[in-house]
Amino acid sequence: MLIPVWILDMLAGLMLAVAGVSAARLARARPWRRGTVITDTDVGHLLMAIAMAGMLTAGLRTLPGAAWVIVFGVLTCWFGYRVARDGRASGVRALAGRHCTPHLVHSGAMVYMFVALPPLAAASAGVAGMGSAGEALRYPSLAFVFALILAASTVWDLDQLSGRRYRLASGAVTVGCRIAMSVTMAFMLLIMI
């Protein structure tokens, strides 16, 4: 692969930063205490960031691809359930402003990436191994669709983040992490095609 390693390493570093922020937010919620609430977005960000860092840099690999498929399959089902529930409660138009819809896309894209990576590339170094493995990505049209949605999600989040909506809200951190993940994920999907 001709993409400079430092670009992949920088993005892996960004993902580790997202993982760190998400882990800190989870720890601050003190989940060992009865009755506390752990936000699903932080759990999702933590898992996705760790998995993506491993896909970008072989040295950061943690679990095998099959295990990640199960993890993100569960997350996709969870966020799908939340989106369906929100849609029933508030209407489809309200979904654009909620956190669950983009996380459903993120989880689905993660499942896709681990399923669509050719076996040789997946076994060697994730997206960094695509070129050297000499195999084509499976279902490239889906990669394009996901990348389009993620690009749209990124500009929407940036617009909302820089507007009045998040001026005083703690949700800005979540949205900032989501933007970093969306851009990185769209990057990975497009270089995999």
């Binding site: 001709l2 060992w32 936000t39 497009l190």
Partner: protein
């Protein structure tokens, strides 16, 4: 917050899994929505620029090819630039991709929108010359089906038309712009730009190289190479339908472009029909003529002109009078 408990009781994790509440979303006005569309295309463009083939000498060679048959004064800087990129492909492509990434992110960030739009005009003009050889306008290879007059010049045009200011013209004009594109430059200037663009597309469609009996057939058939099965099927099917009727198809396309060009000068119902036709032409060009910018085949530098023509068309969608006044009050 959710009241769904995932785990509870005596295990280590006693918390509940919930969702962070989000403040209500701010709905952007029509111009801001189009700016975000432009930002999205820039973002996609930037991410495509990070593909591995762009870091190879092939990228420089691709740029060098655009110098062919251009006048010397245009071609020499292209050749110089392409040679430079061939020798420093990794560093320069990383810079190019990052600039485009920053343009996309900057347009989407409200405090940076003006700066990023202005920078995008300068960047687009440079790329139109040094990266696209002026879109083939001067060497007779411009073809609306393959992206004439050069996708990147449409980025610049959109940046100008979507500039976040309202023109202080005559009282009537300032009070209610007839469409979003008229807000920054005025209705007359926006109409002239639209007319020039679509008449030029009609002109390019009728050029000898594009109206030859098999020209369009061959072009569509070539697009199928390396594409997924379903998209190759569309390209091959379209090529079969066109067959040797390239001249007839070119005349139909040119006629559609002329109708679209005249549309914005017509009363509102007819103008809407013309803009709808523009959207149909843009979609047909992007899907059939450009195979989604050949992104799915790998190695595309941008999504090509289809999405930008569609964004332009939406910027000319005739607004209701009351809506136009309301948008003026909340400009970004």
């Amino acid at each position: 917050m959710s009241d769904l408990a995932v785990t509870s009781g005596r295990v280590a994790w006693r918390g509940k899994l919930g969702t962070e509440s989000a403040p209500a979303a701010e709905a952007p006005d029509a111009r801001r929505a189009l700016q975000l569309g432009l930002a999205g295309v820039w973002l996609l463009d930037a991410l495509l620029q990070y593909q591995s083939v762009m870091f190879s000498r092939a990228f420089g060679q691709m740029l060098a090819a655009t110098a062919t048959a251009n006048p010397g004064v245009i071609a020499r800087p292209i050749t110089w630039d392409a040679t430079l990129i061939e020798h420093h492909a990794v560093a320069l492509n990383a810079v190019f991709a990052t600039i485009q990434l920053l343009l996309g992110l900057g347009i989407a960030l409200r405090p940076l929108t003006r700066f990023a739009l202005a920078a995008s005009v300068a960047w687009s003009l440079g790329v139109w010359w040094l990266g696209e050889g002026l879109g083939g306008v001067l060497n007779g290879t411009a073809n609306p089906v393959s992206g004439a007059p050069g996708a990147v010049i449409l980025y610049a045009l959109l940046a100008v038309l979507l500039w976040p200011a309202d023109r202080a013209g005559s009282a009537g004009e300032a009070e209610a712009a007839p469409f979003t594109a008229a807000r920054a430059v005025g209705a007359r200037a926006a109409q002239v730009l639209w007319l020039v663009l679509w008449l030029s597309l009609a002109w390019f469609a009728l050029q000898p190289a594009n109206r030859a009996p098999l020209a369009l057939h061959d072009q569509l058939a070539r697009q199928a190479d390396g594409e997924p099965h379903w998209l190759a099927g569309i390209e091959n099917g379209a090529a079969a339908v066109v067959g040797s009727h390239g001249l007839a198809v070119s005349i139909v396309l040119a006629a559609a472009c002329v109708i679209v060009a005249a549309g914005v000068w017509l009363p509102r119902p007819a103008a809407r029909a013309a803009v709808l036709l523009a959207l149909v032409v843009a979609a047909a060009i992007w899907v059939v003529g450009q195979a989604f910018g050949m992104i799915l085949a790998g190695g595309a530098t941008d999504p090509n002109s289809g999405p930008l023509l569609a964004l332009l068309a939406l910027a000319y969608w005739p607004a209701k009078q009351r809506q136009a006044r309301g948008e003026r009050a909340s400009s970004c």
